[in-house]
């Protein structure tokens, strides 16, 4: 029960991000969630979108360097302490969190999700479920 994430290499230069997002728009790829990690030289644009296989193909055709992997989309309540609860569950289970980012649901107003990139999806899923925390599936996000 995970979500497919696409990462795109982007040089850290003026206009590069605009160029990439424009390309995605031209290919009619709608972004549901994204985050950007950056260093002095380069950035990594991570995106969640509908029909990731098409998006990956379009990006590769456009000459972009792409990486794909599975991440967890965890439902998060709009109240203080909910992120801390999730992170505590993961920490207690010995799960390493590489990065995380948030986005809002378009289906149910008020619902928020956090994307978690962890070292062990299966173990993380098991620990979160045992704590009563819900994990979304790819299709349920669109």
């Amino acid at each position: 029960m995970s979500v497919h994430q696409i990462s795109v290499f982007i040089e850290n230069k003026t206009g590069k991000l605009a160029e990439t997002t424009k390309y995605l728009a031209e290919k009619n790829i709608n972004l549901r969630a994204l985050s950007i990690a950056d260093t002095q030289d380069f950035g990594i644009l991570r995106i969640i979108c509908e029909n990731p296989a098409n998006a990956v193909q379009a990006l590769k055709d456009g000459g972009y360097v792409v990486a794909e992997n599975e991440v967890l989309a965890v439902e998060i309540k709009d109240e203080p302490g909910s992120l801390a609860q999730i992170l505590t569950v993961l920490a207690d289970a010995g799960i390493v969190v590489e990065y995380t980012y948030a986005f809002l649901s378009v289906k149910k107003a008020g619902d928020a999700y956090m994307i978690f990139r962890v070292d062990d999806n299966a173990a993380a899923e098991k620990a979160l479920k045992a704590a009563g925390i819900r994990i979304a599936e790819q299709d349920s996000l669109f």
Partner: protein, 435 residues
């Protein structure tokens, strides 16, 4: 004050120099033919026998040696004496592929140090001077060469090696160094550091500097002279022929006098190999006529320059060479280190990168910078910054290992490196190295 170390050679008549060269060349060709199979085969192939070489006029009959020959013959193929008679090696930087290892007998070391001593004395050095050697020591010839020359002159020698600039300046002040030997870029850096420390040239006792191992301009000379309050002298050499001291500048600062009792210089057309008439610009070729262990005959330096036999007002009769005006190959000299783009390409392929790269060399505050842009391939990419940054770092470490100097490596998008006429532009050298 005459400022000669060996006036009998440095100021000999042209006839005397010519007689010395004729005699030594004939002997040297015989020595090489008998002891170096690699060169004997080259001579046989060309149909040249030692008897065909009776004087310098016959030099053009001999085959050339190039860096490729040195690589083919590595490590012992060009050695002309027993290893038991050798006492030292020196080497160029590259760790594989382009490495040059030169051997020295005690006599070779001795004559090399004489050459360096001539340079120090020409710069005004005497046994009352304190000579700070801030070239790297070790396999690099700069430190050992000038160190030996300094001993010969009888200077108090400070074997500092390069780096740790504040300590350099402390020793320079505490021990009243009067002569500084290092690369011109390091001299400039020392000058800047002195200024940053709130000191002026009046706070140090330096009077002269002997700077070489990389190209530098007259403008840079003036900057260094001003920042250190000295007269700056150029020195030239290469590991293949011994090291620094093949030629050196005198007080006239108008070209470097070649130590012609040890080296015969020719200028050739780099395309045809034909010897060019005096005064024409071309590739410099050296024949070592004194070396016992590693005597290279007609070695192509790839440095482009001009020779002048015009009388020098310093009194020396030794022919002068201009500062090198360029290269006839793709070698770059970065922070005094020889770099071939192909070395970088080798590392990229070995580390699993595409050979699409671009080298950018610049000189910022008189120090060379080396940036390498490498096109990323999907195999190196991942969604975490940590992984990609670690790959970038590992690549920089592998290139550092190969070149001996640290580059800044930047991963760039595929196909983003400028291509002109279908061919990628490999090197962008923004430095102004020649006047």
């Amino acid at each position: 004050m005459p400022n000669y170390y060996q006036p009998e050679i440095e100021c000999a008549s042209r006839e005397e120099i010519r007689a010395i060269q004729d005699e030594k060349l004939v002997k040297q060709v015989k020595h090489v033919y008998e002891n170096v199979k690699y060169y004997r085969d080259l001579m046989d192939e060309k149909g040249v026998k030692p008897e065909d070489i009776q004087s310098v006029d016959d030099l053009h009959k001999l085959p050339f040696l190039t860096k490729a020959d040195l690589r083919d013959a590595y490590p012992y193929g060009l050695l002309a004496c027993d290893l038991k008679d050798c006492v030292r090696i020196q080497s160029t930087s590259g760790t594989t592929g382009r490495r040059v290892v030169a051997f020295y007998t005690q006599k070779d070391v001795d004559l090399w140090e004489d050459c360096c001593a001539r340079a120090i004395v020409a710069a005004g050095g005497t046994n009352e001077d304190v000579c700070q050697v801030a070239y790297g020591y070790g396999l690099f010839t700069g430190g050992p060469g000038l160190n030996g020359g300094s001993h010969k002159v009888g200077c108090l020698t400070l074997p500092m090696s390069s780096g740790n600039t504040e300590r350099q300046i402390q020793f320079m002040r505490d021990l009243h160094a009067t002569i500084l030997c290092c690369t011109p870029s390091y001299a400039a850096y020392i000058g800047e550091t002195i200024k940053e420390m709130g000191l002026t040239p009046d706070d140090i006792d330096l009077k002269a500097g002997i700077f070489g191992a990389e190209p530098w301009t007259e403008e840079m000379r003036r900057d260094i002279e001003k920042s250190l309050g000295i007269k700056a002298y150029d020195i030239y050499g290469l590991t293949e022929t011994s090291g620094p001291g093949v030629s050196f500048e005198c007080c006239e600062q108008g070209g470097m006098h070649i130590n012609e009792d040890h080296f015969i210089a020719e200028i050739i057309d780099p395309d045809t190999g034909e010897v060019l008439p005096e005064g024409e610009k071309g590739e410099l070729v050296f024949t070592s006529i004194d070396k016992e262990a590693f005597p290279l005959l007609r070695y192509r330096t790839r440095d482009i320059c001009v020779l002048s036999h015009k009388k020098c007002s310093c009194g020396r009769t030794l022919v002068r060479m201009s500062k090198p005006m360029g290269r006839s190959d793709d070698m770059l000299i970065i922070r005094g280190v020889n770099v071939f783009p192909s070395q970088i390409e080798t590392v990229l392929l070995k580390e699993g990168y595409s050979p699409n790269y671009q080298i950018e060399v610049d000189r910022v505050n008189n120090t060379d910078t080396l940036d390498i842009n490498v096109e990323l391939s999907p195999e190196q990419f991942s969604d975490t910054v940590k992984d990609v940054a670690a790959k970038e770092k590992a690549l920089a470490a592998a290139i550092t290992q190969m070149l001996g100097i640290r580059p800044a490596v930047h991963l760039v998008a595929p196909k983003s490196i400028t291509r002109s006429e279908g061919k990628a532009v490999r090197v962008i050298d923004k430095r102004k190295l020649h006047d």
